[in-house]
């Protein structure tokens, strides 16, 4: 089979798995059967992806772009339809990410079997995981913005279902809703960006040229002859479109200021966190930005880089003071995503994707380890209660240690031997040097901040990860009861951890291979930020900053020194006036949740109540008022009618009665009187009727 068919099959398998499990459910088989069935489906996906990877890499490497008609938008003059299209696009990045996503998803599926043991809705959980995997693969395969958007939303809804999996509890309820709504804020930008490109590119949403047309890139660069990197002010729409699409990425990749949903998403079961924070969801935003990379104008680049920089600094600082192990990891993810986004803004398409891949493995592993600890600790997540778990859980501790080193960017100085995080992060820092230089060349000297920020935060990263490791696994047990009951997890849980940890070790070795593979697909637009150029600077810089400074060792040493005896030293530092306030501020996540509660949530609620009341009392009030006026008018007229019109009638009736009572005296059998009355009556009647009759004769009868 061709790679594109294999990848379509790989995408379809989890969808089929989801449909089968949801439709047949518990009536047909027990949770054990279904769990392994879903592992089989995603495993099949993995096999397809790996074959596709090998085939594609062995082949010509020519990208495959296929577009199928899906949504008709109109009719051409010759009667044929015009369509919004979806379809697979396969290049080296696609096959690489398919391999990454399916490997991680398979391992998380296996891990879930152990972790979700005994949960009454385990089957459903496995089905949602299938849906999640399907959605993510759909994004990776997407050839058009429309397809990206479709699966974008499906990722959103599957994360909603997974984060809110334990919906009996209030926390998950709120977290899943928050995740979806905050993502939709980004999606609004996505929709607007898509709309602008739809209009500019003549109704074409396919990114790269396919048989049906030149695609968005082709249209903009060839037909409209715009070079996004030199786009002038009259091409502001391109900047707007780029930022709009990137807003979607900000939602999914939890970039500032849409970051608050990600830490809350910890309310979901830990396997969900491990997949959300690595291969799916947050990866989607970075992936989208990489896919639309050629469209980004310098202004958009600057926007992207700034957002990334803010996120990476902010999150790393917050991570330093959290005591919930999953929260630390969550903020660490945010920070690392900030690195990727910064790299994209700085023009290093290559290293952003490379860091995405390396980060996916070690972060997934870290979350699984954390999940194992939480599982062993009876769902206690506070690191203040941990300590000394190394002996109880050696495998988990070893995996956690390896991944901590990987995320810290550990390497052996003056050699090329290092763990995976080192390669990708240094590449990013190298790219920011170039970017800072480029900005400075345009008179923006402060551009250097794009380089100093990530460099300093690289030290901070090593520090807070060491802190987490030390507090959890080393030192004396701080909760005796918890420690006594802790135990190593079963194989379905430690096996995926070990596999992931080994990936975290060796995937960097294929640095040149992987790096070269990705950068070949980097668009020509990125030439000023040429990957080769990055590479050269990368090594130059490796020596300059991190290796030379033994940065990771310093931070790790500091982490050990501070936390090996628990929080005793740290809490003293945190009590120092001045620091205490900062600590409090960081501990409360810089107050964003409170701020958003006040601004967005309360404003939204207030607005909805105001508009609801407005609707009820003003708009509907006007309707009811009109009805009231109509009714009152009716009463008025009715009253008038009763009082006066009918009153006259009644009055005459009464008069007649009275007259009758007067006249009844006359009814004494006096015949002559009767005749008189009759005569008078007839005469009166005639007297009234005659003018009418004359009128009719004179003027003619009224016609109709």
């Amino acid at each position: 089979m061709t790679p594109e068919n294999l990848l379509v099959l790989a995408t379809a398998l989890p969808a089929i798995g989801f449909a089968i499990v949801i439709l047949l459910g518990a009536r047909v088989a027990n949770e054990k059967v279904w769990s392994w069935f879903t592992v089989g489906m995603v495993g099949g996906s993995l096999v397809c992806s790996v074959i596709a990877y090998v085939n594609f890499m062995a082949g010509s490497g020519e990208p495959v772009s296929i577009a199928w008609n899906w949504l008709q938008i109109g009719v051409n003059a010759d009667g044929s339809g015009r369509y919004l299209q979806i379809g697979p696009y396969v290049d080296k990045m696609t096959v690489l990410l398919f391999a990454m996503v399916t490997i991680i998803s398979t391992l998380v599926h296996i891990y879930s079997i152990g972790y979700m043991e005994g949960d009454s809705r385990k089957t459903r959980f496995m089905a949602y995981m299938q849906l999640f995997t399907f959605s993510m693969l759909g994004i990776v395969l997407g050839n058009s913005l429309l397809q990206l958007y479709i699966f974008w939303e499906l990722v959103g809804i599957s994360s909603y279902l997974l984060i809110g999996f334990w919906y009996e509890k209030r926390g998950p309820q709120l977290a899943c809703k928050k995740a979806f709504v905050m993502n939709r804020i980004g999606d609004m930008g996505f929709a607007v960006g898509m709309g602008i490109l739809f209009f500019k590119c003549g109704g074409d949403l396919v990114l790269r040229s396919a048989e049906s047309g030149p695609g968005i890139f082709g249209t903009i660069m060839d037909r409209l002859a715009i070079d996004p990197l030199n786009a002038g002010a009259d091409n502001w729409w391109l900047t707007l479109a780029g930022i709009g699409l990137f807003m979607g990425a900000m939602g999914k990749s939890a970039q500032f200021p849409l970051q608050t949903w990600l830490p809350d998403a910890m309310e979901g079961p830990t396997p969900v966190s491990s997949i959300v924070h690595s291969a799916t969801m947050v990866a989607a935003g970075v992936y989208l930005t990489a896919r639309i990379f050629p469209l980004l104008t310098p202004a958009a680049h600057l926007f992207v880089a700034t957002i990334g920089l803010i996120t990476l600094i902010m999150a790393a600082l917050i991570a330093c003071v959290q005591t919930d192990i999953k929260k630390v990891l969550a903020y660490s993810t945010l920070s690392q995503l900030g690195y990727m986004v910064l790299a994209l803004g700085a023009g290093s398409y290559t290293y952003a994707m490379f860091h995405l891949v390396t980060h996916a493995f070690f972060k997934c592993c870290l979350f699984q380890c954390a999940g194992s600890v939480i599982h062993a600790a009876h769902h206690e997540q506070e690191m203040t209660k941990y300590g000394g778990l190394l002996r109880k859980m050696p495998i988990t501790a070893a995996c956690f240690a390896v991944c901590t080193l990987a995320i810290a960017g550990a390497s052996i100085p003056y050699t090329e031997m290092a763990l995976s995080g080192y390669y990708s992060k240094d590449g990013i820092i190298a790219a920011t040097v170039n970017y800072g230089d480029a900005l400075a060349a345009h008179g923006m000297d402060w551009g250097k901040v794009f380089y100093w920020g990530p460099t300093i935060i690289a030290y901070v990263t090593a520090f807070y990860m060491t802190r987490a490791f030390v507090l959890t696994f080393l030192g004396k047990p701080r909760d005796r009861h918890l420690h006594d009951h802790a135990h190593e997890v079963n194989w379905t849980m430690w096996f995926p951890q070990v596999v992931l940890a080994s990936f975290a070790v060796f995937i960097g070795w294929s640095f040149f291979k992987v790096g070269a593979n990705i950068h070949e697909t980097a668009p020509e637009m990125a030439q000023p930020f040429d990957p080769e150029h990055d590479l050269a600077h990368g090594f130059h810089f490796v020596h300059a900053a991190l290796l030379h400074g033994f940065g990771w060792m310093i931070s790790i040493g500091l982490g050990f020194a501070l936390y090996v005896n628990g929080l005793s030293i740290a809490s003293k530092i945190a009590a120092i006036p001045g620091i205490a306030q900062i600590h409090w501020w960081l501990y409360n996540k810089m107050g964003f949740d409170g701020l958003y509660d006040i601004i967005a949530v309360n404003l939204g609620k207030a607005l909805s109540s105001i508009l609801g009341a407005f609707d009820r009392y003003v708009v509907d009030g006007a309707v009811n008022g009109a009805a009231w006026i109509g009714r009152e008018l009716g009463f008025l007229v009715g009253g008038f009618d009763y009082q006066y019109v009918d009153g006259t009638v009644r009055g005459s009736g009464r008069a007649a009665l009275r007259l009758g009572s007067i006249l009844h005296r006359t009814q004494a059998g006096n015949i002559r009187m009767y005749v008189l009355i009759l005569f008078v009556a007839v005469f009166t009647g005639l007297a009234i009727a005659t003018p009418f009759a004359l009128g009719w004769v004179w003027f003619g009868l009224p016609s109709h």
Binding site: I22, N69, W70, L71, Q72, I73, G74, V75, A77, G79, G81, R82, L84, L146, Y149, I150, F151, E153, L154, I157, Y160, G164, Y167, E168, R170, Q173, L174, C176, K177, F180, V181, R184, I185, D187, M188, A191, V192, M194, G195, I196, F198, F199, G202, G203, W237, L240, G604, K605, L607, S608, S609, L611, G612, A613, D615, V619, D620, A622, V623, A627
Partner: protein, 548 residues
């Protein structure tokens, strides 16, 4: 044969309505007659759609002999002195709505299977309503259309007023009078047609020849357009008529600010009637805009684009905010209809092909999703006897299978891709952005034409797109309050109270259609595009100017 089918679709329900009344003291038989009628009409519709879909070209029909996409036409003189015809036929605009109506009719009679109060009258009135609905979608003569438009009104009045909730009388009379105001606007336009329209066949002025109410002919005829563009210098007849028609149909859609009859009508109406009200009756407004307002008054439509688009965007955003404010579950769903139908108005307003396709698809998609949402509410209401969102909770645990189907229904309402709510929304939105091109190049009497158009249109697009956030907000908040949380004993049902097979049938069929339409939107779009292309010819120059 197909011509016969078209007439059968209209008159079989009427026959059924009489039939329902005949059996004495046997409500079950009445029910059965109604169901059989609905199923037969559904089958006829499917047969009709089958041949409609299969035939490439349309039967030529126009008095002047021109080509048209209308097929299976029956044309009989009804009132000769004023040239009113019984003119019915099918084109791409009517076919998908006919299918939607016929599918919903079967499901709604199934949903109303447990109506015990005056079953005979209920079913009979429902079939009269059916007669009116099919008539509206098939009539091609303006007067005939008006008649069916009114016919559908009266049964609805009784269906709400007799079988409704506590404030049923208020809701029924409000619905009736409000819609009647719209009908008066329609009547005024009809009188205008009578006096202004020249004889289409001979081209003679109205005074000498016979005026025409043939909507297809009116749209295509040059002389008619000229006649309408007379009147005041600025306030041409066409603009007056367009506005009057818009008010009339905006009430039916309903668009803000003409929408307040809807929440009351929905809240008081029994479940099946809410379903048909949201599922089909609102679509009569959108359909009428597409069939009458836009093709017959193209210039006025261009002139009015901004005003109409504002109505659409305000409906989307305002409806969503109002939905968020509700604590009555059914009212929330009712306001969501206002919000969702805003996309129909917006898609039409911007005069792009994508927008029109989106508007039409949104009507079909919303027909399925809103009917489903109302049924989902009804299922719970029948058991819990209240609809207060703040008192629910934990239904996911006590009614898992039902909640699974509810997720499909509500997520379709939320506009989730691969469900029926998505294609319409995204096409309307894309169409809105696509409008920049023609507005930029439009003559100066078009509002916001010229260079500044892009900023205006993008702003509209941003507001419309913000609807996706608000929709997610109110749907998910509702979902949280009703379905999530720990299981509660008061919402735990067993034995006869469990969701029964009939209810599962209705929900499952609707869910199935929600998925089919979402995954394969071509099933609707293929039918409509040729028709749009033909009857929106006055706008096609806009599209070609835009280069797509």
């Amino acid at each position: 044969m197909n011509e016969l089918f078209v007439n059968l679709i209209i008159f079989l329900p009427l026959l059924g309505a009489v039939g329902c009344l005949l059996p004495r003291d046997n409500p079950a038989l009445s029910r059965m007659i109604a169901m059989v009628t609905a199923v037969v009409v559904l089958l006829i519709n499917v047969a009709l759609a089958w041949s409609f879909y299969g035939e490439a070209g349309g039967t030529s029909y126009l008095p002047s002999g021109g080509e048209s996409v209308v097929r299976y036409v029956t044309d009989l003189v009804w009132i000769e002195s004023v040239n009113i015809h019984y003119l019915v036929g099918v084109d791409g605009l009517s076919m998908p709505l006919l299918l939607l109506t016929s599918i919903l009719n079967v499901l709604i009679i199934a949903a109303g299977w447990n109506v015990e109060k005056h079953t005979k009258a209920f079913m009979s009135l429902y079939l009269v309503l059916m007669f009116g609905m099919y008539g509206v979608f098939l009539a091609l003569d303006f007067f005939l259309f008006y008649v069916f438009f009114e016919v559908s009104l009266l049964p609805m009045y009784f269906l709400i007023g007799i079988w409704g909730g506590p404030r049923k009388e208020y809701a029924a009379i409000k619905f009736f009078i409000y819609t009647l105001v719209g009908s008066i606007c329609l009547l005024m336009v009809m009188l205008g047609f009578y006096f202004l329209v020249p004889d289409v066949a001979t081209g003679a002025a109205a005074a000498g020849g016979k005026p025409s109410f043939n909507m297809i002919a009116l749209a295509a005829d040059e002389g008619v357009q000229q006649a309408f563009n007379h009147g005041g210098q600025f306030w041409t007849y066409a603009k007056w008529f367009f506005i009057l028609l818009f008010i009339s149909f905006a009430i039916k859609v309903p668009a803000v600010p003409f929408h307040t009859w809807l929440p009351d009508a929905h809240v008081e109406a029994p479940t099946p009637i809410s379903m048909i009200l949201a599922g089909v009756l609102l679509k009569m407004g959108g359909y009428a805009l597409m069939r009458i307002s836009y093709p017959i008054f193209p210039d006025a439509a261009k002139w009015a684009w901004f005003g109409v688009a504002i109505v659409g965007v305000v409906s989307i955003v305002y409806g969503a905010f109002c939905a968020m404010a509700q604590t009555d579950w059914k009212k929330l769903v009712a306001y969501s209809s206002v919000s969702h139908m805003g996309y129909v108005i917006l898609g039409l307003a911007v005069l792009t092909e994508a927008g029109r396709n989106g508007a039409y698809f949104q009507m079909i998609g919303h027909g399925i999703s809103s009917a489903m949402m109302f049924f989902l509410v009804g299922v719970v209401y029948e058991r819990a006897h209240h609809r207060d969102l703040n008192r629910f909770g934990g239904l996911w645990n006590t009614m898992p299978a039902y909640t699974g189907l509810a997720a499909v229904g509500f997520f379709a309402g939320l506009g989730l891709p691969l469900l029926c709510g998505f294609p319409g929304e995204v096409l309307s939105l894309m169409g809105t952005f696509g409008a920049i091109e023609w507005i930029e190049n439009a003559p100066s009497w078009v509002p916001f034409s010229g260079a500044g158009s892009s900023a205006t249109v993008i702003t509209l697009g941003v507001f419309a797109a913000s609807g996706v956030i608000l929709t997610a907000g109110y749907i998910l908040w509702m979902f949280q309050r009703v379905y999530m949380g720990p299981a509660r004993p008061e919402y735990t049902y067993s034995g006869r109270d469990m969701v029964n097979g009939r209810e599962y049938f209705v929900m499952a069929v609707l869910a199935l259609f929600a998925i089919i339409l979402g995954v394969w939107p071509a099933v609707v779009l293929d039918m409509i595009s040729n028709t749009f292309n033909a009857i929106y010819a006055p706008f096609s120059s806009l599209a070609s100017a835009a280069g797509f």
